[in-house]
């Protein structure tokens, strides 16, 4: 018997109605291995993992765990066999403490045994190098802490096989480093870790082997050390592709939008933005870098007229738009496109189809009381065609589309209104390689047409490759506005953690940098 094989999935097929999500997929993960599952959205990664965690049952094929063939009737069976799944969206109860979250749903007794539990959590934390305060409430936790808690939760349930669905999508560079340290610890303890991702850099950094899925088929499993990023891209996309981001310096820049000492308070009355000033020009992509929750959300929403500005002014050309509602802004004839962070929560109506989501932007300028769908049906067809949106039709509810296609619907609608300003918050978050590059191209096209694009990003490499200038936020304050061609990544990191340009200059001694 091959004792060292943790997961062996053979010839797995799974269909949903007409759609074959997985067809003849095989996957083998060894104990003490970090195994990346790589593929575009809709390649069948999540379906495959859901079968491993007992949420779905395969139509065909076999699953063996630690050398023994199994059939899962429910997630309970999979948990019992030591498989723990960490979903992209955390499943935690906000008002409970870490400790309480760890024990809910467990059979062992109704009451949470305080001391014994704390001891066990501590032991686990030490064993794997996790760092958590058992009595902290979830709502007080950062995203990184929540993820750590999710990991402890599955370990507490005895997981020896960990599946993580895009674990780094919501983390900062620092948090990612921490997560990778934890994952490596687990590997040393003999756990098997499966990471679903489409970030190639991370695959190269953390994994031992990679299995590539494409269109529901498993293409190949390779040893990470023996492959290269271009090779992986070729396997993922199915053909040789040149993926590079172009950045053209365009002439004719004019000041379009200016924030002048803007202060915004959050719901608790604390400053979310403090005296933020910067200008956005035509023909440029202005990046915004910063650790998560440094005021990016408030920055976008204050520009879009969605939250109250405590102090300061925002000029669009010469008009101050502070105090104007989104409707006023539309009425003033200011064409502003906004791709919010939470696409389905704000920006799109999940249960409505593409046509009705496109009407959202148009209907207010229609005359009369009737809702005219005609022009929007044409628009929907055009957007689906131009942006190559994969959908059964324009009457499919957008929540049934994949993440990348949902983003394309939103971006397509915002671009269609030929905006002067385009605000995009993490537009490629959760998108696969192909879709991400499509989005970069679209943003570059907009820039070439003279649009001022504000790009809130998290990936520093990307920000530096795409943007003409980068504004760095820390705790709601601008710590610097830098030229990505001359700044170093380390300096960006320092700015993100609160150092000012002056301080950095001093650190570097004589060699000065200009903003």
């Amino acid at each position: 018997m091959q004792q060292n094989i943790a997961i062996e999935m053979k010839h797995i097929s799974k269909s949903f109605g007409e759609i074959k999500a997985n067809e003849d997929v095989s996957l083998e993960v060894r104990q003490g291995e970090i195994h990346a599952v790589l593929g575009e959205n809709g390649a069948g990664k999540t379906t495959l993992m859901n079968m491993l965690s007992g949420i779905y049952t395969p139509d065909e094929g076999t699953i063996a765990i630690n050398g023994q063939e199994v059939v899962f009737a429910s997630p309970k069976d999979s948990i019992r066999l030591g498989i723990g799944m960490i979903h992209q969206h955390f499943k935690l109860v906000d008002v409970m403490t870490a400790k309480e979250n760890i024990v809910i749903g467990q059979k062992e007794g109704f009451f949470t045994k305080g001391k014994a539990l704390t001891e066990k959590v501590k032991a686990l934390s030490e064993q794997y190098g996790l760092d958590i305060d058992p009595d902290k409430k979830v709502y007080d936790m950062s995203v990184g802490e929540k993820q750590t808690l999710e990991i402890i939760k599955v370990l507490y349930r005895g997981a020896r096989i960990l599946i993580m669905d895009e674990p780094t999508a919501v983390l900062t560079p620092q948090e990612i480093r921490k997560l990778f340290r934890i994952v490596r610890n687990m590997k040393e303890q003999g756990c098997a870790v499966v990471i679903i991702t489409h970030k190639l850099n991370e695959v190269m950094e953390i994994s031992d082997r990679v299995t590539v899925l494409r269109k529901g088929h498993s293409i190949k499993t390779v040893v990470t050390a023996e492959t290269t990023i271009p090779e992986l891209i070729e396997m993922v996309v199915g053909k040789k592709t040149d993926l590079s981001i172009t950045k053209e310096k365009l002439p004719g820049k004019e000041l379009l939008l200016r924030m002048d000492e803007v202060t915004v308070k959050d719901s608790e009355g604390k400053n979310a933005l403090t005296d933020v000033s910067f200008g956005l020009n035509t023909y440029e992509i202005l990046g915004v870098a910063g650790v998560a929750n440094s005021g990016q959300k408030e920055l976008c929403e204050s520009l879009a007229g969605l939250i109250k500005v405590e102090k300061g002014r925002i000029f669009f050309h010469d008009e101050n738009i502070v105090g104007k509602s989104p409707r006023d802004i539309i009425r003033m004839g200011i064409r502003m496109g906004f791709i919010p962070e939470d696409r389905l929560g704000m920006g799109l109506v999940a249960g409505m189809d593409i046509v009705h989501n496109i009407i959202l932007k148009d209907y207010q300028s229609q005359p009369g009381i009737r809702l005219k769908r005609g022009p929007c049906i044409e628009k929907a067809k055009k957007i689906v065609r131009d942006l190559d949106i994969q959908t059964p039709g324009i009457n499919t509810p957008v929540k049934k589309l994949s993440g990348g296609n949902i983003q394309k619907v939103l971006l397509g609608r915002e671009i269609d209104s030929s905006p002067k300003v385009l605000i995009t918050a993490y537009p490629v978050r959760g998108l696969d390689i192909g879709a991400s590059y499509k989005i970069y191209d679209l943003l570059n096209e907009q820039k070439a047409e003279g649009v001022g694009v504000l790009f809130i990003g998290e990936d520093l490499d990307l920000l530096m490759a795409l943007c003409d200038r980068i504004v760095v936020l820390c705790h709601g304050e601008v710590t610097g506005i830098v030229d990505p061609d001359t700044v170093t990544k380390d300096d960006l990191g320092l700015l993100m953690t609160g150092h000012t340009l002056d301080e950095i200059e001093k650190m570097h001694g004589k060699e000065g940098k200009d903003a």
Binding site: Y56, T57, V71, D77, L306, P326, R327, G345, M346, Q364
Partner: protein, 357 residues
């Protein structure tokens, strides 16, 4: 070790399959109701036949059924508008009562000589205003202060009913009623005329079906209401004035319920009584929900429920069986139909091809 039944999520289901599941659910609910009757020592076949006979047996009974369908349908339509916005208007009962109060306010104070169309129009307008005001109060609190509309609208019911009770026992008591706590009968120029033996409310109800359907599906306001119902954040993002939308939707919802009060006071009771709403405000929640907030389907669901109500009244008279039997059937239909949605969303499969050693 393994469960014999496994539950998996379904992809989309065909319309025809959904229809089959719903039909099966309704049949099961009737079978189940039959079992309940058997346990109670009653003959289910006889009782069900009597319910159908009582609802549809003679021309007059059909007219009675239709008369019950009118308030149910219009109230359901009002509720649909609010529910589409995710605004849980449980206050239809109170809005009906206040509508009836508005109608009575006119009916009891106009001279007997005033022409009928004018009186009816005045009654209609005041009823709409009163119903709408009763819905406006919780709406404005929700829009401005974010209060919980479910509790608020529910409480408003009791206020309305107790207010009319007060009128009935106090200031509006009929001086010729020999001390009996009732309000005087309306004059003949306050009574809705009949067409084909049923008060003309049925025409109005059909107009309302078309109106609500058109309003929700083909107007900008209807679209806004649906967007607010699905995502307030997205509505804000799109620049919608959410407070205004909540208030407009509730004015329509309460206004429709108000007209029900006028119809019931004018055509059925021919006066104002505290129990004028007669539970229609609550039954309409069921019918609105069962019709999946679709005004056209709602018309059919309301007809079926009105038949059950009428049949229930009939068996009470003819067989001496409590009309609560009809209530049991209603409850079971709701239970089974809502329960059947589980089978539409999930698939059950039995047994396994392989077992683990």
């Amino acid at each position: 070790m393994h469960n014999l039944i496994k539950i998996t999520k379904r992809a989309d289901m065909k319309r025809s399959q959904e229809a089959i599941i719903y039909t099966v659910a309704i049949l099961l609910s009737i079978v189940c109701a039959g079992l309940v009757l058997l346990v109670l020592g009653l003959d289910p076949v006889n009782i069900f036949r009597s319910i159908v006979e009582g609802a549809l047996g003679t021309e007059m009974r059909i007219q009675q059924t239709l008369t019950k369908a009118i308030p149910l349908l219009i109230t359901s339509l009002g509720i649909i508008v609010a529910f589409k916005m995710n605004f849980w208007n449980i206050g239809a009962e109170g809005q009906i009562t206040m509508g009836a109060f508005g109608a009575a306010l006119v009916a009891l104070h106009v001279p007997e000589t005033m022409p009928l169309p004018l009186v009816l129009l005045m009654m209609f307008v005041t009823a709409v205003i009163c119903g709408a005001v009763w819905a406006f109060i919780p709406a404005i609190f929700k829009a401005k202060l974010g209060t919980n509309e479910t509790i608020f609208t529910l409480m408003m019911n009791y206020v309305a009913i107790k207010f009319v009770t007060y009128l009935q026992y106090g200031p509006w008591i009929d001086p010729n009623g020999s001390g009996f706590p009732r309000i005087a009968q309306f004059n003949s120029n306050c009574i809705l005329p009949k067409l084909f033996g049923v008060n003309v409310g049925w025409i109005f109800a059909l107009v309302c079906v078309v109106f609500v359907y058109f309003f929700m599906n083909h107007t900008k306001k209807g679209y806004e209401i649906t967007v607010v119902g699905q995502s307030v954040e997205t509505a804000r993002y799109a620049g919608m004035n959410i407070s205004r939308i909540i208030i407009i939707a509730m004015l329509i919802s309460g206004g429709l319920c108000g007209t029900v009060g006028m119809i019931q006071a004018s055509a059925v009771e021919k006066t104002l009584v505290a129990g004028i709403a007669n539970g229609y405000g609550f039954t309409a929640i069921i019918t609105a929900w069962l019709s999946k907030l679709n005004p056209i389907i709602c018309a059919f669901v309301c007809l079926a429920f009105a038949a059950l109500l009428q049949g229930g009244t009939y068996i009470q008279i003819s067989l001496g069986v409590s009309s609560a039997v009809a209530g049991v059937v209603q409850g079971l239909i709701l239970f089974f139909v809502l329960g059947s949605e589980f089978f539409i969303r999930y698939k059950l499969s039995f047994g396994h091809k392989k077992e683990v050693a």
